[in-house]
């Protein structure tokens, strides 16, 4: 029997496409696919240097960009998982708001002041994860379309945040919290470290673990995944919890940045995050996702804002230009990606 197998391996046509395959590898490995994004970002930086060189190319400005990217970046990493798994989460901004409010109530702050700021952080994470859990249960077991389920969460979570905070901006008085999260490590702000860590962990999780592999399967073909023995529903719940957790982290970061918790935090994060994820190359229909692309997407948007501000452009002109630049960036990416694949 085994000889049958060996006889058929003589088929040398089989080894033929060795060289092109490595090209495909390159492409799939992320570099080729992200080439357009890299080029877009570099172009943006060139524009930045050309128009506001003295301020743009400073270390402080780079850190500013990174700090700005950090919060929405963490949210976008979570969003990448949900979208790759075939869902969508419109409630991220509302979850950030709710988590920030809950973690800055007088009671929580008192606890944090008496013992440790970890109480505030874990409150935020728990709130985010709990909201994510509800989202996940509604989608996976309630069989409600993700768009609708998370839209409902968007309304509810923000309403709840308003009720809890009584629409007041809650100012953080726990000095140790601000000291830790407002600080720097080797010259790089803690917030940026958190972003890097989350992105790295996200990358490993998505690309190097069974969890990630199953995420692709669930998003690519849920029925096939189910018949392949994957617990699709449970996995879906996990994805939304993950997104909620990321929102909890983002809430902590936002609390550190603004020294407040507020029901107005995180407005329109859903659009920003989805835009970053999609520009990065993750398929909105699921089954294909890239953390690296998402990070680039976030950086492009933040750098864009930074360059605009440095140039003192009017907001309206910024909007118009933003639209045009998005289109150009995507077209660029497509052309380059196509060239890499040779089609």
């Amino acid at each position: 029997m085994s000889e049958d197998i060996t006889t058929s391996s003589k088929q040398d046509t089989v080894t033929q496409p060795a060289i092109p395959r490595s090209r495909t590898d390159l492409l799939r490995s992320g570099f080729g696919r992200n080439l357009g994004l890299v080029v877009a970002l570099v172009l943006l930086c060139i524009v930045g240097v050309a128009t506001a060189g003295d301020t743009f190319a400073t270390g402080a400005n780079v850190l500013t960009i990174l700090r700005l990217a950090a919060v929405i970046g963490v949210v976008s990493v979570g969003m990448t998982f949900v979208i790759t798994g075939g869902g969508i989460d419109l409630s991220v901004g509302a979850m950030v708001a709710l988590a920030s409010v809950w973690a800055t109530t007088l009671a929580t702050q008192q606890l944090a002041a008496d013992y440790h700021w970890i109480f505030m952080v874990s409150t935020a994470l728990a709130v985010g994860a709990a909201c994510g859990l509800v989202n996940g249960l509604l989608v996976a077991y309630g069989k409600i379309v993700p768009f609708v389920a998370t839209l409902a969460m968007l309304a509810s979570a923000r309403g709840l945040a308003e009720i809890i905070s009584d629409r007041k901006t809650q100012i953080i008085t726990v000095g140790s919290f601000e000291d830790f999260f407002g600080g720097s490590l080797i010259g790089v702000p803690v917030l940026v470290w958190i972003f890097l860590l989350v992105a790295a962990a996200g990358w490993v999780l998505l690309n190097r673990t069974t969890f990630g592999r199953r995420t692709f399967a669930v998003g690519g073909n849920a029925e096939a995944a189910r018949l392949a023995g994957i617990k699709v529903q449970r996995h879906t719940v996990a994805l939304y919890v993950l997104a909620g957790l990321c929102c909890g982290i983002a809430a902590v970061m936002l609390m550190a940045r603004t020294t407040t918790g507020s029901s107005t935090h995180g407005q329109l994060y859903e659009l920003d995050a989805i835009a970053a994820v999609v520009i990065g190359g993750t398929l909105l229909s699921g089954g294909r996702g890239t953390i690296v692309g998402t990070v680039f997407g976030v950086l492009i948007f933040t750098t864009l804002n930074n360059v605009f501000t440095l140039n003192n452009l009017s907001i309206s002109a910024q909007s118009v230009a933003k639209g045009a630049i998005i289109v150009v960036a995507v077209l660029l990416q497509q052309r380059l990606a196509r060239r890499t694949t040779g089609t």
Binding site: I5, S8, T13, R23, A224, G287
Partner: protein
């Protein structure tokens, strides 16, 4: 007879693969021209070039001696070329009639004339021998065979001079196939040319006039006589080697072998009722029956993908929780489903990821995957099943239909199952790979796996299984050893109901 169609030196490259490397094909009016070739030889690609779905990189196409540019499906349609594609090309949420007339809907001032479409569609379906398919039902709710019929009806709905059929018989049972042949003969009598692709040589013999053989994207023989050319020669041309198209010898299943899978009185209203059988370790049980007799449903219910209304399933003596795939998987049951695209494959994922998706735990330590081990294991199976191109890193979408089927099978061969449920495991697989698959299945059985096999090809069921269960309209009408029954008896059994 003059040549209706001439294709010369057709070249088509995909990134990394030269799918067609100078193919020649000429088709005469009124003939059935068969295309033969291994999985991945380039048959479907050639067809898609012909129908304007792909643009060739080089080569020339002439119709009635007139050079043509087929740069869109519309262009091909206008020249009288219609096709039944290998991968079903239907719109699931449209009705049967709407699918049949998609792109040339009966209409007045842009308003669709539903009644006219339904009437016309009914007429075409009747001509195909399927008057019973309701024209206003959504296609997505039809079983695979019904969808195939709709696909055929669509090709017939155009007033075509040339109809291409890419493995139309893969999901059809013998009865259906003879029905199809009747239709084809009617077409050729009217001077319509048919290009017919199939991996079943018996069919070529029956319906074909001339044969063109493709190998690795090039024409290796053309104009062969479909009836006279010896099978050996055809296989030699296709594969470059000679293969005995035989089933592996059965190994005796001892009566002492434990019963692994036990199905008791399983039923689902409207699908099947009172199904019961036992499979011992090392035994292959075949389920024979016509398309629509409920075989797939039985398998899916055993697997827990559908919830049984009555009855239960026992594996190694323990009752499975009904309607739970998890429970079945945990007990060591595996299902290779029949519809590879919708039920099995992650089309955009690499071949190796598709193969290992059910076995991920084996390649992971505390959740982290060992990519190398994973790829190696997958590669080994891909080579064993002769998946080509052999690189396991490309997306499954780029593989030919038969090779995709092998990937599905590989997934379940990789998994060490106690019970393996195989639904049409060789659909669209070429003769060469087929015998290797048979050998692998038998080897699994002799390693003690209990196997349930569903196939629309009666010889396959009879040749490979130890025992057969014959289903008719959702009921078991016969159970017994495979040696004691022959193809005719099976056909008689499954069709008995038709007299009534």
């Amino acid at each position: 007879m003059t040549d209706l169609l001439t294709m010369m030196g057709i070249v088509k490259e995909f990134p990394g693969v030269r799918a067609l490397d100078g193919v020649d094909l000429d088709v005469r009016a009124g003939e059935v021209h068969c295309l033969l070739g291994q999985n991945g030889a380039g048959k479907s690609t050639l067809i898609r070039v012909l129908t304007g779905a792909h643009q060739p990189d080089a080569g020339m196409i002439r119709i009635n001696d007139e050079p043509v540019q087929l740069n869109s499906p519309t262009a091909a349609i206008q020249r009288g070329i219609a096709a039944i594609y290998q991968e079903l090309d239907l719109v699931p949420d449209l009705t049967v009639a709407e699918n049949i007339f998609l792109g040339h809907e009966p209409s007045r001032y842009g308003f669709s004339r539903t009644h006219e479409a339904n009437t016309k569609a009914r007429a075409i379906l009747q001509g195909l021998g399927h008057a019973e398919i309701p024209t206003h039902r959504t296609v997505g709710s039809l079983p695979a065979a019904g969808q195939q019929v709709v696909s055929m009806a669509r090709a017939l709905s155009r007033d075509a001079r040339l109809i291409v059929m890419d493995e139309p018989s893969a999901v059809l049972d013998p009865e259906e196939v003879s029905n199809l042949f009747r239709v084809i003969r009617g077409l050729t009598d009217r001077g319509v040319a048919v290009v017919y692709i199939s991996h079943r040589l018996e069919e070529i013999r029956e319906i074909g006039d001339r044969v063109t053989v493709l190998k690795d994207g090039a024409t290796v023989a053309t104009g062969l006589d479909a009836r006279q050319t010896p099978t050996k020669e055809l296989i030699q041309l296709m594969t470059g080697r000679s293969i005995e198209y035989v089933f592996p010898p059965r190994t005796e299943v001892s009566a002492a072998a434990p019963v692994v899978l036990e199905v008791v009185d399983l039923s689902r209203p409207g699908e099947f009722a009172g199904i019961g059988f036992e499979v011992r370790a090392g035994e292959i049980l075949g389920l024979a029956g016509l398309v629509g007799s409920g075989r797939s449903e039985v398998l899916e219910t055993v697997y827990g993908a559908r919830r049984a209304a009555t009855g239960f399933v026992r594996v190694d003596g323990a009752v499975l929780r009904p309607g739970r795939v998890q429970a079945a998987v945990k007990a060591g049951v595996g299902l290779a489903p029949e519809e590879r695209k919708s039920q099995a494959l992650l089309l955009d994922e690499a071949v190796f990821k598709n193969i290992t998706v059910s076995t991920l735990g084996r390649f992971a330590s505390s959740g982290f995957l060992n990519n190398r081990a994973e790829r190696d294991a997958a590669s080994k199976l891909a080579v064993a099943l002769d998946v080509r191109p052999a690189g396991v890193d490309q997306p499954v979408r780029n593989l030919s239909g038969g090779n995709q089927q092998k990937v599905v099978l590989a997934r379940w061969l990789l998994r060490d199952c106690r019970v393996l449920l195989l639904d049409e495991p060789t659909r669209g697989v070429d003769v060469g790979a087929r015998s290797e698959i048979y050998a692998l299945i038998r080897e699994l059985a002799s390693n003690g796996v209990a196997i349930v096999l569903v196939s629309s090809e009666v010889p396959e069921v009879l040749g490979l299984s130890d025992r057969v269960v014959v289903l008719r309209e959702g009921r078991a009408v016969h159970t017994g050893p495979a040696q004691e029954i022959d193809e005719h008896q099976v056909l008689d059994l499954v069709m008995e109901g038709s007299a009534r």
